[in-house]
Structures are given as structure tokens and as C-alpha cells.
């Protein structure tokens, strides 16, 4: 290394500044997350008064006890689990074969199908006509309203198609055709076993979408028995909170409200953790897969 290559003083300072900036960004993102965890196991009085600001104070698991005894949350949890498993299965069954067919150069009409799918990314019927279609199909207030109106996402089909185009060797397909294998046989015996990475990525994308989604449930479901977790959360986290902040009441009403508020405060942070738990658990292991999915998409995007 000669002196021209060794770092100059300004370069060193800039490098340090970059590291400081990255650390700062990390802390900003991290703080609310740590706060929620601490608040969920702290005494609500300390949380509400601001005495608890980083580490848990007056540790109590009362909030979690209430959450686990709450029937609506359990019901929502089970419903969401069901919608996620069913929905993701449908998503994969629609996406993977379609993406494979679109990746085949000898598939007449592939560009036409692709155009038909991609157009819907930019032009759509809009909320009301879509709602009317779902309604006229008789899907309102059924589990199918949670899984059919979003049975596939164009972007995911595009990503899976790029995967097939870039990783399945053409020679393999040609050899299979020469051996007289049908497309079905080839897909199930040869292509699928080679496609586990993309199936995992797609499953995760769709799965997280189902787990976190609330809007389909909001517009298509009114039966509380069918409510997914996110709608139950909406009642606890958004509607109650809004009500308590927007009303001005006095006397015994206020006292009743206060105790209710205390209760809400105890479970508020706990439900955030409980509802996000499955994703928190898989996240560190699967972050790489998610990033990979976005990367594949960006190749073609």
C-alpha cells in the first residue's frame, strides 16, 4: 500500500460519520420496539405517567394474563391462523404453476397472459365495483372473502417467473420432453423439487400479508365469529383509544372510564407483542429469504 491508497484524514472522518449515522438510524428504529416490550410488562401507572421510558418498571404480567383470558383475542388468533394457512396455500397453488407456465418460452400466449396480469397493477375497477363482485358471488361474511379476492399478487407471479427463468436449466426441460414426460409429470417430479427456495419466499410474502391484513375483513366481514386478529386489535388499539381521547366526561362516568382506560393501557402493549409474535419469531431466520425475494424482483423490475 502506498500513500495514495491509504485513507486520508477527511475520508476517515467521513467513514466515522457514516457509522455514527447508521447507529443513530438504528437507535431511532429500535427505541419504540424496546419501549413496547418494556411497557407490556410494566406497571401501567408508571407507563402512563412516563416514569417508565426504557427499562421495565414494577414488572407485572397482569396484562398478558388478561390477554390470555380474553376470548375475542383467542378467537381472532385462531381465525387468523386459519386464514393464513388456507390463504397462503391458495396463493401458492395459483402463483407457482402460473409463474412456471409463463416462464416457458414455448408456451404460446405467454405475453398475452402476462400483459393481462400486469395491467391490473396499474388499472383496477376500484373499491366499490370489486366489493359488488364479491357481494354478488355470495362471499360476504364467509371465510372465502378472506382468501379469494387476494388469491394472487402480480408482483409475486413476476418474481416467481424470474426465478424459474434464471434457475431451471433449459436442458433439463428439453431432456424431459425428449424422454416423453408430460408437462404435469415434469412440473411435479422435476420442477417443484428444485423450486423450494422460491416456494418458501412466496409463502412468506403471502403469509405475512394474510397475518397482517385487516382491510378485507373490514369490508367483507360483519360476523364477529369470523373476525381475524387484526380486526380485534383494531377495536382494542384504535377505536377504544380514539374514544377515550375524544370524549370529555366527568363524575362517576369518568371514574368508570378511568378504570377501563387503565385496563386498556395494561393490555395495549401486550397485544401488540402477542399479535406480532409469530412474525418476530420467524423474522431473524427468514430475513435473508425476504431480502432475496425483493432482489429477484428488482432484477426484472
Amino acid at each position: 500500500m502506498n500513500s495514495a491508497i491509504s485513507e486520508t484524514m477527511t475520508d476517515k472522518i467521513i467513514k466515522i460519520l457514516i457509522y455514527v449515522f447508521l447507529g443513530f438510524a438504528t437507535l431511532i428504529v429500535l427505541y419504540p420496539l424496546v419501549y413496547i416490550i418494556s411497557a407490556s410488562i410494566s406497571d401501567p401507572a408508571d407507563v402512563n405517567s412516563g416514569k417508565m421510558w426504557l427499562f421495565p418498571k414494577g414488572i407485572t404480567f397482569e396484562g398478558y394474563r388478561i390477554i390470555f383470558e380474553n376470548g375475542a383475542i383467542w378467537k381472532g388468533y385462531l381465525n387468523t391462523l386459519f386464514y393464513t394457512v388456507l390463504g397462503t396455500t391458495i396463493n401458492l397453488a395459483v402463483t407457482i404453476p402460473a409463474a412456471y407456465a409463463l416462464s416457458r418460452k414455448d408456451f404460446a400466449g405467454r405475453n398475452l397472459f402476462m400483459a393481462m396480469f400486469v395491467i391490473t397493477m396499474f388499472f383496477s375497477g376500484g373499491l366499490i365495483p370489486t366489493y359488488l363482485v364479491v357481494k354478488s358471488l355470495g362471499l360476504i361474511d364467509t371465510i372465502w372473502a378472506m382468501v379469494l379476492p387476494n388469491a394472487a399478487a402480480v408482483w409475486n407471479i413476476v418474481i416467481a417467473r424470474v426465478f424459474f427463468q434464471s434457475t431451471i436449466p433449459k436442458e433439463l426441460e428439453e431432456a424431459a420432453i425428449i424422454d416423453g414426460a408430460s408437462n404435469f409429470k415434469m412440473f411435479f417430479k422435476i420442477i417443484l423439487p428444485l423450486s423450494m427456495p422460491i416456494i418458501a419466499v412466496m409463502g412468506l410474502f403471502y403469509g405475512v400479508g394474510h397475518w397482517n391484513g385487516y382491510f378485507n375483513a373490514l369490508i367483507y366481514l360483519s360476523d364477529k365469529e369470523l373476525f381475524p386478529l387484526q380486526l380485534v386489535l383494531r377495536e382494542i388499539l384504535v377505536l377504544q383509544e380514539m374514544a377515550s381521547q375524544n370524549t370529555d366526561v366527568t363524575g362517576s362516568m369518568a371514574e368508570a372510564m378511568h378504570s377501563k382506560q387503565q385496563l386498556a393501557a395494561v393490555i395495549k402493549y401486550g397485544v401488540m407483542i402477542v399479535s406480532t409474535l409469530p412474525i418476530i419469531i420467524i423474522y431473524p431466520f427468514l430475513q435473508r429469504f425476504f431480502v432475496k425475494g425483493v432482489m429477484i424482483g428488482s432484477l426484472k423490475g
Binding site: G50, A93, I128, A151, Y214, V238, E241
Partner: protein
């Protein structure tokens, strides 16, 4: 279809013997294509579910847009309802809330674009300078994480943190000697709350696509620049940023094309009667008018107006980008 036929034929030709190649007249072409279709009929079964899905849940609703020009009565159906021309559009344009909706919709989007667009680029450039290792991995793991938080939990966090009496942000403000701010009930604050919570949630995840572009930069450029005595900043400015321009343009086109259709799920959750003045956007209005008040035709008309503006914006921006930079969506 033209390009299709071409691909199919070249594939066909590869398999043909040189002898049969000598007689490529126009007549046999369709036959060969039919043969190919027959041979690959199973591929049509592969694509059938996706085709049905897009047809039923995307193309039929497009056909259903006609209710925007009708007086839709559920019992008469789409066909049976009477045509009313542009009546619903007129009613919307003449309404007292028309300009408020436009102002809020554009205001929120533009604000979000100005703040939210550059930040992932800056963070990605910084991440790209950091050495691979525990520190960089930690920064990435932490900043990507909020992307996976559901919009409902996000709204819950915003409301809890910003509460005037119990929220941690206002406790901090009081500690610094300021008065607590009623963020959620003061219309002045709505847009800022919306935009900055979005920055918190999606800046980290937004870096991935730029990092992918940066990983494609040839290290030799940097080595040559170092030999020439370029500083780190000069290298970022002259090598890394130009490498990101195509990605930036694509994302900018997509963002501008969506400027009238931002993430309204979050707006809907953060909306309350007190901040409605600045939180009511076209999309939430369509939800309110169409699904809660059941004015289907009117809401569909408002939605259609929104989509048309979006489409015009997308096409215009794409055209401009094509002319100026050769990078475009199509």
C-alpha cells in the same frame, strides 16, 4: 401476439431438419403453432387458476365501473339500473368538499414523496460504505424489522405514543419544557404524523432495492478512482449515485403514478372526527360514501375519477422519463 408467434417459430425451427427448413412458406405456420398449443395444453391448466382469478376479481370489476354512469340499485343489478350520464361526477365536482379532498390527497402524497423518497437512498449509500460484519448486519436487521409490523399495530403504536396525557412523546416534550401536543386531534399535525411514521416503518426495507443496484457496481471503478486520489465522498457522488439513477427513476414513476392512491388503510385507522379536516382523502371518502353510506354509484364515480387521474399521471411521467433518460416502465 406477434412477438409470440416469432418466439414459437424460432423454437420450432431449431428442431427442424435443414431439409424441411427450405420450404418455409407462410401457410404451414399456423398449423405448427396449433401443434405447439396442443402439445403444451397442460400449461394452460397451470395458468387457468390465475387467469380466472384476474378475470373475476379484476376484469369484471373494471366492467362494473359503468355503475359510475348509472343509478345503481342492488335489486336491479348492474344491467338493469338506469343510465344517468355524468350526474354523479357533477355532484362530486360541485360539492363543497371536492377541493378539500383534492388538497388533502395531493398534500399527503407530495409530503410523503419529498420526505420518504430520498431517505432510503441515503441510508442505502451509507450502508454500502459500511464493512460487512456484525455492525452492518445489526443495522440492517433492526431497520428492516418495522416493515413486518401490521398497519393496525402501527396505528395503535402511533396513537399510544402520541397520546397527550399518557404518550411517551408528550412526556418527552413536557420534560423539555414544551406544552403537550394533541397530535391526533389537531388537524395541523395529521400529515406529519402520517409521513414520519411511514418513514420509521419503511425506510430500512426501502434500502434493499438500492443495495441490490449498488452491489452491481464494478469494484474496479472504485479502485481506479482511489488511485486517482478521489475521496470517499467523491466516489459516492460520481460512482454510486449514478448507478442508482435507473432504480430511482423507476421508483419515482411508480410513486408519481400512485400519487392519488396512497396507503389509505393507515389513514383510515388514524382518522377521527377531529382531524378529518386534513385526513379525509379521496380513498377514505370512497370507503365512507360507498360502503358505509351505500351510495354505490356515487362512490364508484369518485373512485373512477381518482383512477383516471392516476392513469394520466403514470402515463405522462413515464413518457417524460422515456424522453429524458431512456429509463421507463414500458
Amino acid at each position: 401476439m406477434d412477438s409470440n408467434t416469432a418466439t414459437v417459430l424460432t423454437e420450432e425451427e431449431k428442431q427442424q431438419t435443414p431439409k424441411s427448413r427450405k420450404v418455409p412458406t407462410k401457410l404451414p405456420k399456423p398449423k405448427k403453432k396449433n401443434k405447439k398449443i396442443l402439445q403444451n395444453w397442460q400449461l394452460y391448466i397451470f395458468i387457468l387458476p390465475a387467469f380466472l382469478y384476474f378475470f373475476i376479481f379484476h376484469y369484471i370489476p373494471m366492467y362494473g365501473i359503468q355503475i359510475a354512469f348509472k343509478d345503481f340499485i342492488p335489486s336491479s343489478g348492474i344491467w338493469g339500473s338506469e343510465w344517468v350520464g355524468l350526474e354523479h361526477f357533477k355532484r362530486f365536482f360541485d360539492s363543497y368538499y371536492f377541493w378539500d379532498l383534492i388538497k388533502n390527497t395531493l398534500g399527503l402524497s407530495v409530503y410523503e414523496l419529498i420526505i420518504g423518497f430520498p431517505l432510503p437512498i441515503i441510508l442505502a449509500l451509507a450502508l454500502n460504505e459500511a464493512k460487512d460484519g456484525l455492525y452492518k448486519r445489526t443495522v440492517q436487521t433492526v431497520t428492516y424489522a418495522p416493515h413486518f409490523i401490521s398497519v393496525v399495530v402501527m396505528a395503535g403504536m402511533i396513537i399510544a405514543f402520541l397520546s397527550p396525557a399518557t404518550g411517551i412523546i408528550n412526556h418527552g416534550l413536557t420534560l423539555l419544557g414544551f406544552d403537550p401536543i394533541p397530535f391526533m386531534s389537531d388537524p395541523k399535525w395529521f400529515k406529519t404524523v402520517y409521513v414520519f411514521s411511514g418513514v420509521w416503518q419503511s425506510t430500512g426495507w426501502g434500502t434493499i432495492i438500492y443495495l441490490a443496484a449498488l452491489s452491481g457496481v464494478d469494484p474496479q471503478h472504485h479502485e481506479a478512482a482511489i488511485v486517482d486520489g478521489a475521496t470517499r465522498l467523491q466516489r459516492i457522488w460520481h460512482i454510486n449515485i449514478p448507478a442508482l439513477v435507473p432504480t430511482m427513476i423507476i421508483l419515482l414513476i411508480m410513486n408519481l403514478g400512485n400519487i392519488m392512491a396512497m396507503g389509505f388503510e393507515k389513514i383510515l385507522l388514524l382518522q377521527n372526527p377531529l382531524n378529518l379536516e386534513s385526513s379525509n382523502v379521496i380513498a377514505t371518502f370512497v370507503y365512507q360514501a360507498g360502503l358505509l353510506d351505500a351510495q354505490y354509484s356515487f362512490a364508484a364515480a369518485v373512485g373512477l375519477f381518482n383512477s383516471v387521474i392516476n392513469a394520466i399521471l403514470l402515463i405522462t411521467v413515464n413518457q417524460i422519463a422515456k424522453k429524458r433518460s431512456e429509463t421507463s416502465l414500458w
